[in-house]
Amino acid sequence: MAKVIVDVVLKDEILDPQGDAISRALPRMGFTFSPTSVRQGKSFIITLDHQPSRDELSEIERAAATLLSNPVIESFSIRVEN
């Protein structure tokens, strides 16, 4: 069994008002670390009952580039967890 995790985040140059709001909320709530910025994204956890083959990983990459992310505003990365 393996989990293929696709992380999607807004590109650096795209305004992220949700991340900015979180960044402002942290010190207000008493957290003492001071982030220079917070970016909010989302993860897709795809579970397989086997280790993904190279072909399957490239299919997942294609799904990430077409459905799971919008390449105009978002970038993605893929990692496999056993």
Binding site: Q18, L67, V72, I73
Partner: protein, 221 residues
């Protein structure tokens, strides 16, 4: 003239869009998201709402619906298509229009009457306006901030592809206060505020939005 109005699961404004078509003197034909036959319509409206519950991203699922698989190639061949609000988001996700609509800069869902200025009256949906004309129509969305890279923005600006801008304070952080854009050919238009809610002073703030629909009647009679 028959104009198709698409209904996706979660579409809200299809009835008002159909009413706007009738007010403009056209015949509105309902198109279902699961069908792939455009039934010979002379134009298509993708109305506002929350297609497929805005799952994944606004407009992302609608892009892959059977009706969009018919609309995309027809639009590329010149069929007039107007996307309003969620419809604009669907057009961007379909790559019929560049850029993307993201969360409003102040994070709030906005619902108010908004003044916009028409800056291009050469598209299929804006020919009945004058350049510089200011109109007031409802704006109601949570993800209406138009974003694109610098190269795309330059391309839009230098080729007169911005059709409308917000007047006064930029309500949502859209680049260059863009409220609506068109494709290179001028047949596909996306607009964030809602002209279909402003076709009759009895039910809307103005009747300023009607000219979007009367423009189409003149485009392809």
């Amino acid at each position: 003239m028959r104009v198709g109005v698409v209904t996706f699961p979660g579409t809200l404004d299809d009835h008002d869009a159909a009413r706007a078509v009738r007010f403009a003197g056209g015949e509105a034909l309902s198109l279902w998201h699961g069908d792939s036959d455009l039934q010979g319509v002379a134009g298509v409206i993708l109305p506002g709402g929350f297609s497929y519950g805005d799952y994944l991203r606004c407009g992302a699922i609608a892009r892959f619906s059977p009706i969009m698989s018919a609309i995309i190639p027809a639009a590329e061949k010149g069929l007039p298509v107007l996307g309003i609000c969620n419809g604009f988001q669907v057009l961007c996700e379909s790559h019929l229009l560049p850029g993307a609509l993201t969360r409003n800069s102040e994070l709030h869902f906005l619902c108010r009457d908004q003044e916009i200025e028409i800056v291009n009256n050469e598209s299929a949906w804006t020919s009945d306006f004058s350049v510089g004309e200011r109109i007031t129509i409802p704006l109601k969305n949570g993800e209406g901030s138009f974003q694109c890279d610098d190269r795309t923005l330059n391309e839009l600006e230098s080729n007169n592809r911005v059709i409308a801008r917000y007047v006064g304070i930029n309500p949502n952080g859209s680049r260059n206060s863009i409220a609506g854009i068109t494709n290179a050919r001028g047949n596909v238009v996306g607009v964030m505020p809602h002209p279909e809610h402003a076709v009759d002073p009895l039910t809307g703030p103005t009747a300023d939005g009607l000219a979007f629909f009367t423009s189409l009647m003149k485009t392809r009679v």
